[in-house]
């Protein structure tokens, strides 16, 4: 409903009450000036207190046996890491292998198969029947063995066949000089027979005794193993033939050709906090790359720099632009928006093992940096940091996230280690704001035990969080003043066959009541005039005029460029709109004709009774079908010259008169 000031206040109170501290206490009514419920949460490994806002905690799944050390929940040997999704399965990486979790019912996830294959980080991606996994630890063996004193050592990218999800079979293991800390699937829109894997290796170069050709040569030396990424080409029909095809020098100086052409020294002797840099923002590798093949674009988070990459030729990516930032200790990961016009980079200050959300840490340290991409160049707009401090025993800093596909908005779910999960709306890239969260107390109140959310990704209707020490958490979105039921429903209608957060695909929304209503809800946040009582006489609509339970005794005229939103309202007169920005009539009655011509934005007449003819003509609204649905029209319905043509979303109208033109079949 349109947000009148009165209703806004009421909604805000309701949202405050939803931010419950659930601590085994009877929840009281929260007030707007209550302290953030994330402050002061009790500690515990599997019994910590937790708080959430605008989320519903659908399920928690402990780490299965074999993937946890109960004597030391923070054991590096069993860290839960990144997530990938295929069909109704979540693949949850672990330093000891990975787990396949059935999420057909997100509220009842269950482990289908645990796969033992040590080597960390266990970063996983899927592509059809193939699963890729990053390995960087020295203990790893080609054959997934657990005893590192025997067998052949392995650091690189494993390729599994997961056509039988209960028995993943290794089909290739590509050795690399710096192993694989992360990797990213890159598809070629023109070549579905092959898939590429961009490998980011951040570890020291392995001993040459374990792999020929690896070296620690300086940048000026012969073919240094550093200052490059590795590109693996995988023939989909013959994945055993996976092999490195190139080692692009993405950091090269275009003038001198020097391979170390980006940030080679920290921007200041110490981090702005006064502490030593940790990690050091020097670019000799990427930490992670997010590809958007449909745009031929990738964003690389490369230790000391954020870069944009042309990937239209996937085997030969080319750097397009680079940025640095005086606050960034470690460019860690990147997320592009669906339209490719913004990019968020995260700064993993402290390396993920440090407490970097302390009350004294500024919002620009260990944060996200939001950039607009203008003419192929990145322009800084803002920082976003988890807006609540965490304790000294909680490792906390910006980490992995993915887009929540709400049409018309840029929203990301993001993991902050023991800072939990934060949903950020950065539609206005200069003013990002939090709209929902989940947080647990520290694992230990007395010492920092590694834990927290590694990744928080949206997949087909829910937010999944992989918890380093505790397992898998699943969340649903709850409507709030920040996100309406229709916006959530519109996001939920996006169903993908598989998902890797570092491989973005264009999100599209089929026309639906949810998508249409989401447009209404978003316009309702911009009302310039709101009428929720009686209005006598003619009404001229300027700006964004919102009728919410209103009675207008007179005709309504919508001026050029103006927007009319009406819900639960009665208009005793005609509604006419010429070159309006938008016209929406929901659950209303119009005692007169409705005439909309030359609209430039969304038009919707839903569950509305019109005592008179309805005509819709000459609208030009690319990608946004006008909607006339579930309405009763006592008069003719005629539509002409609209692009695209009006639709009824399957909600037939009752038309007591002739129908014609583009609306001939809407009754």
């Amino acid at each position: 409903m349109p947000s009148t000031p009165r209703r806004t206040i009421r909604s805000a109170l309701a949202a405050g009450a939803a931010a419950l501290l659930i601590a085994g206490l009877t929840p009281g009514v929260a007030h707007a000036d209550d302290p953030d419920p994330r402050i002061g949460l009790g500690a515990g490994w599997l019994d910590a207190q937790s708080a959430l806002s605008n989320l519903e905690h659908l399920a928690h799944l402990d780490k299965p046996p074999g993937f946890v050390n109960p004597a030391n929940p923070g054991d590096f040997g069993f860290v839960t890491s990144d997530l990938a999704f295929t069909g109704h399965y979540a693949i949850m990486g672990n330093f000891n292998g990975f787990n396949v979790v059935d999420i057909a019912d997100p509220a009842a996830p269950s482990v289908v198969t645990s796969v033992v294959c040590p080597g960390g980080q266990g970063d996983v991606s899927v592509h059809g029947d193939l699963l890729f996994m990053s390995v960087e630890e020295s203990r790893a063996r080609v054959d997934c063995g657990t005893n590192p004193t025997v067998g052949e050592r392995f650091q690189g990218v494993r390729v599994f066949d997961i056509s039988d999800i209960t028995t993943p079979t290794q089909v290739a293991a590509v050795q690399l000089c710096r192993g694989s800390h992360t990797h990213s699937v890159v598809t070629d829109p023109d070549d579905p027979a092959n898939v590429y894997v961009y490998v980011s290796g951040t570890a020291g170069v392995r001993p040459v005794a374990t792999m020929a050709g690896c070296n620690n040569n300086p940048a000026s030396g012969e073919d240094p193993s550093r200052w490059r990424i590795d590109v693996i080409k995988v023939p989909v029909a013959d994945p055993a033939a996976a092999a490195v095809v190139s080692g692009p020098r993405l950091f090269a100086d275009p003038d001198t050709g020097a391979v170390d052409g980006l940030q080679n020294a920290p921007p200041a002797p110490t981090h702005p906090s006064g502490a030593n840099w940790g990690p050091t923002p020097i670019t000799d590798a990427c930490h992670d790359i997010t590809a958007y093949p449909a745009l031929g674009l990738a964003a690389g988070a490369c230790e000391g720099n954020g870069i944009l990459i042309d990937i239209s030729d996937p085997a030969h990516p080319v750097r397009l632009d680079e940025v640095a930032d005086p606050n960034f200790a470690y460019w860690h990961s990147a997320t592009l928006t669906n339209d490719g016009r913004k990019v968020i980079f995260t700064d993993e200050w402290g390396g993920g093992t440090g407490a970097r959300c302390r009350p004294t840490d500024q919002a620009s340290w260990g944060a996200n940096a939001v950039f607009d991409i203008v003419d192929g160049k990145m322009e800084f707009r803002s920082y976003y940091k988890l807006p609540v401090p965490q304790t000294l025993t909680e490792n906390c800093v910006a980490h992995n996230g993915s887009l929540i596909p709400v049409p018309g908005r840029d929203i990301m779910a993001q993991a902050w280690y023991q800072g939990g999960i934060s949903l950020v709306d950065y539609t206005d890239s200069a003013h990002p704001k939090e709209i929902a969260f989940f947080d647990r107390g520290p694992i230990s109140a007395t010492g920092l035990v590694l834990g927290g959310m590694w990744s928080a990704y949206w997949y087909n209707g829910a937010v999944y969080g992989s918890e380093i020490a505790r397992g898998l958490d699943v969340f649903g979105l709850k409507p709030s003043v920040h996100l309406t039921e229709a916006e959530i429903a519109a996001a939920r209608q996006v169903q993908l066959p598989e998902f890797n957060a570092q491989h973005q695909t264009p999100i599209t929304w089929a026309p639906s009541f949810a998508v249409a209503r989401a447009r209404f809800d978003q316009l309702a946040r911009t009302c310039t005039t709101t009428i929720d009582g009686r209005h006598n006489g003619p009404l001229t609509v300027l700006g964004v005029t919102c009728l919410d339970g209103a009675t207008v005794n007179g005709p309504v005229a919508v001026r050029r460029g103006a927007t009319l939103l009406a819900i639960d309202s009665t208009i005793s007169g005609a509604v006419s709109a010429s070159s309006a920005a938008a016209v929406h009539l929901y659950h209303s009655t119009v005692r007169g004709p409705v005439s909309v011509s030359g609209a430039t934005g969304s038009v919707a007449v839903v569950d509305t009774t019109v005592h008179g003819p309805v005509s819709l003509s000459g609208g030009s609204t690319p990608g946004v079908e006008p909607i006339i649905a579930d309405s009763t029209i006592n008069g003719p319905l005629s539509c002409s010259g609209n692009s695209p043509a009006p639709i009824n979303l399957g909600g037939a109208n009752t038309v007591n008169g002739p129908t014609g033109g583009q609306c001939a079949s809407l009754d």
Partner: protein, 227 residues
């Protein structure tokens, strides 16, 4: 509260061992509204090398899974690297009063902090594993063996006697040598079968990467001084 949860886990583990699949739904005080599901592990497989088939692990196999423990090579690495790093601190302490270069002063400060940080991490590693810490004097020449890249007494005397640009060059020479020694020690760790324990591996790889970065910076500075 942790205790009760541990019991739940033990119950699941016991059930798995005896081949009885159970699913526990435990509502815990102190958690939020989501039911806590301790699901039984239905199937655990271990793939083989490419071309080999996966094998199914028994509950007993799963119960026996552990990450590689630390070994003598790891402990030796930490107990030697700590004094090795401490000598770097002795060297950086000589900079004030001898060097007139702001860049050298900055570099020395960075090295000091990073070596201190790593010393603290290595000490914590040893303490967590109930291994003895090295003697606080182990870095002093004459106490114990000289590790790769370390300065002997005559080197230290020469450095302490130098001044101005001569000090800067000597400091960089020695510190590059010192850092290369640390890289050698990392190589030796792996050659000796260490670095298999995940935490030791991570520490050693961090030491390796950090020293490489600093070596690169020092080479640049040295080239600048020579120019």
């Amino acid at each position: 509260m942790l205790g009760s949860r541990r019991l739940a886990i033990a119950a699941v583990a016991a059930a798995v061992v005896t081949g009885v699949a159970v699913a526990l739904i435990v509502m815990l005080p102190g958690d939020d509204t989501a039911p806590v599901t301790a699901a039984p592990t239905l199937r655990v497989v271990q793939p083989g090398a490419p071309g080999q088939s996966a094998r199914t692990l028994s509950p007993a196999d799963v119960a026996g899974l552990s990450a590689p423990p630390h070994n003598a090579a790891d402990t030796a690495f930490m107990t030697k690297m700590i004094p090795h790093h401490r000598q770097a601190l002795e060297m950086t302490a000589l900079v004030a009063g001898r060097s007139r270069s702001a860049e050298i002063a900055q570099l020395a400060e960075r090295i000091k902090i990073s070596q201190q940080d790593e010393v603290a991490l290595m000490e914590r590693w040893l303490v967590d594993r109930r291994e003895a810490l090295p003697s606080p004097h182990a870095n002093h020449v004459g106490h114990g063996e000289l590790m790769p890249g370390m300065l002997d007494q005559s080197d230290l005397t020469r450095l302490a006697a130098a001044e101005g640009p001569a000090f800067d060059r000597l400091f960089l020479d020695y510190m590059i040598r010192h850092h290369q020694g640390a890289v050698t020690m990392v190589d030796q760790l792996y050659q000796a079968g260490g670095g298999m324990e995940p935490a030791s591996d991570r520490l050693a790889r961090d030491v390796n990467a950090d020293q490489q970065i600093e070596i690169g910076r020092m080479r640049e500075l040295l080239a600048k001084l020579a120019a």
